[in-house]
């Protein structure tokens, strides 16, 4: 019983620590693309957390909307921004 509680506590600490770490990385890492990938992983871990907290409905919504769709939207915006920047660079060279 004791070990189970300790294992649970360890799991909680690990999960919450990695959530904070991922959030920190998302907001401070240099590359924008990296930040988006970190954010998607953050969303996935967050949905694990919802599962741990017993909110399975939220976990499901988070994994599809929070991580998947938001990630897809962010990535496609990133591609668009890159395309715009490339075009501008070409125009500048000419």
């Amino acid at each position: 019983m004791e070990t189970l509680i300790i294992a649970e506590l360890l799991f909680d600490l690990l999960l919450s620590g990695s959530l904070l770490f991922l959030a920190y990385k998302t907001l401070t890492c240099k590359e924008l693309f990296q930040a988006i990938v970190f954010f998607i992983v953050f969303g996935l871990l967050l949905s694990v957390t919802w599962g741990r907290l017993g909110a399975y409905d939220v976990a499901m919504a988070e994994v599809v909307i929070g991580a998947g769709l938001t990630g897809a939207l962010l990535l496609s915006t990133f591609m668009q921004l890159n395309k715009i920047n490339n075009k501008l660079d070409e125009e500048k060279k000419q």
């Binding site: 909680d12 920190y24 924008l32 909110a55």
Partner: protein
């Protein structure tokens, strides 16, 4: 004291980190990520506190429902912001908030 308070504190931590990045970061996409992380922090606090001294099965469904509402609102706002951002990048060549007041 329940270990579940840990998640509530993490929620506030996410909110604070997000707030810091929202103020300090320049790039709009980064600001948007910061807002999303702040939102996740609030949601985490909302759900984790409803687990206090409840015996497993009987979790409080009201915060869960509110958080689902919040997640849908968050993705709507994110999508609108991204649309705006692309438009701004088209018009002004970079997706940063430039200081238009100090002309």
């Amino acid at each position: 004291m329940s270990t579940l308070f840990v998640y509530a504190i993490v929620g506030i931590g996410l909110f604070s980190i997000g707030l810091y990045a929202l103020i300090m970061q320049k790039h709009l996409l980064r600001k948007l990520l910061a807002i999303n992380i702040m939102g996740s922090g609030v949601f985490l606090l909302f759900v984790s506190l409803s687990m206090r001294s409840v015996t497993g099965v009987l979790t409080d469904p009201v915060p869960s429902a509110m958080v689902i509402t919040g997640i849908v609102v968050a993705i709507s706002a994110t999508a609108l912001a991204l649309g705006l951002m692309i438009k701004i990048a088209r018009k002004s060549a970079k997706a940063e908030l430039c200081n238009l007041d100090q002309e």
